[in-house]
Amino acid sequence: MSFFERLRGRKRSADSAKERLQLVLVHDRTDITPAVLEALKDDLLTTISRHVEIDPAAVHIALERDGRAQRLIADIPLRSVSRRRSG
């Protein structure tokens, strides 16, 4: 990387490599493509919505690495009952 690129604050290439590889490896290892993850998220939302009220826009679902194992992490904020009543 040149001095000028650094001045412009461009990310170092090794950092890009690591970030990209983190994503690629998780998908390679699980065979879960971003499209499959999206479909899984939709199904999950439908099922949960049947029981509790949630804000679909606030739901965050991601694959995370833990050593050589992978985890599916779902963060699903619940709508509070009091707010629902007042609203």
């Binding site: 290439s13 590889l21 690629v24 290892r29 050589r68």
Partner: protein, 262 residues
């Protein structure tokens, strides 16, 4: 006790054959009895890297198909009397040998030799399956580059699925100056991504190409940095706890003086 050690990588060109030749000479120079087998049928190269290409009479496929005895296909090294090579066939393909052929062949060598090193071909197909079938241990060679790291991860995943012991990692051709300016993945980055134990870090070194030109593996050159790294890996394979060498110094005073002027 003999150990069958297979060297694989997934991606081609990362330095598998170089690693096999150098670990073989380093182990043999340390007093071990070593046989290496070139598993890359159709694209043999371990013979030229070791400088033994003119001595080949029989090869791996000749042994498997019964045209010669195992002993007749073993070429003794020029420098080290306890080091042998079983070359690959050049005019056949990977299907000429099966995983059970490799297991049988290695069983015949076990007991008489301390180390049986197998040079796996690139890829994850038949040739690779042949190479890992008899393996007690596997070393995966990678480079600090996106494609090599990705392919190494695939290979590690396949070994896990085959219920082999977790392989150890050799990070080859690391360029310390590029790592320093954050334009190359560091050894720590690669280890963090692949989540396996590292057994060696080999710096990029012009001496490796010079050694290949001559057919004398770089581990025989006492002054080479890469040679030292391979000798250290050989010691670690034997169970000796060798500290990793510092890779951040920028060559000698002369190189340091002129490095800033480029």
């Amino acid at each position: 006790m003999s150990t069958v050690l297979t060297i694989g990588s997934g991606k081609g060109g990362v330095g598998k054959t170089t690693a096999v030749a150098n670990l073989a000479v380093a182990l043999a120079a340390a007093g071990e009895k070593v046989v290496c087998i070139d598993g890359d049928i159709g694209l043999r190269n371990l013979d030229v890297i070791m400088g033994l290409e003119n001595r080949i009479v029989y090869d791996l496929v000749d042994v498997v198909e019964g045209r010669c005895r195992l002993r007749q296909a073993m070429i003794r090294d020029k420098h080290l009397p306890e080091l042998y090579l079983i070359p690959a066939a050049q005019t056949r393909d990977k299907s000429a040998v099966s995983p059970s052929d490799m297991v049988r062949l290695c069983d015949e060598l076990r007991g008489e030799y301390d180390w049986i090193l197998i040079d796996s071909p690139a890829g994850i197909e038949r040739g690779f399956k042949n190479a890992i079938a008899p393996a007690d241990r596997v070393v995966v060679v990678t480079n600090p580059e996106v494609s090599a790291v990705r392919d190494a991860d695939r290979v590690i995943g396949i070994l896990e699925a085959e219920e082999k012991d977790t392989p150890s990692l050799v990070i080859n051709r690391l360029n310390p100056a590029m790592v320093k300016r954050h334009d190359m993945l560091s050894a720590d980055d690669v280890v963090d991504l692949l989540a396996v134990k590292v057994i060696g870090i080999v710096p990029e070194d012009d001496d490796v190409i010079v050694a290949a030109n001559r057919g004398t593996p770089v581990a025989l050159d006492p002054k080479s940095r890469a040679g030292q790294a391979f000798r250290n890996i050989a010691q670690r394979l034997k169970g000796v706890d060798v500290p990793f060498m510092a890779l951040d110094d920028q060559g000698n005073l002369w190189q340091r003086l002129f490095a800033g002027r480029k």
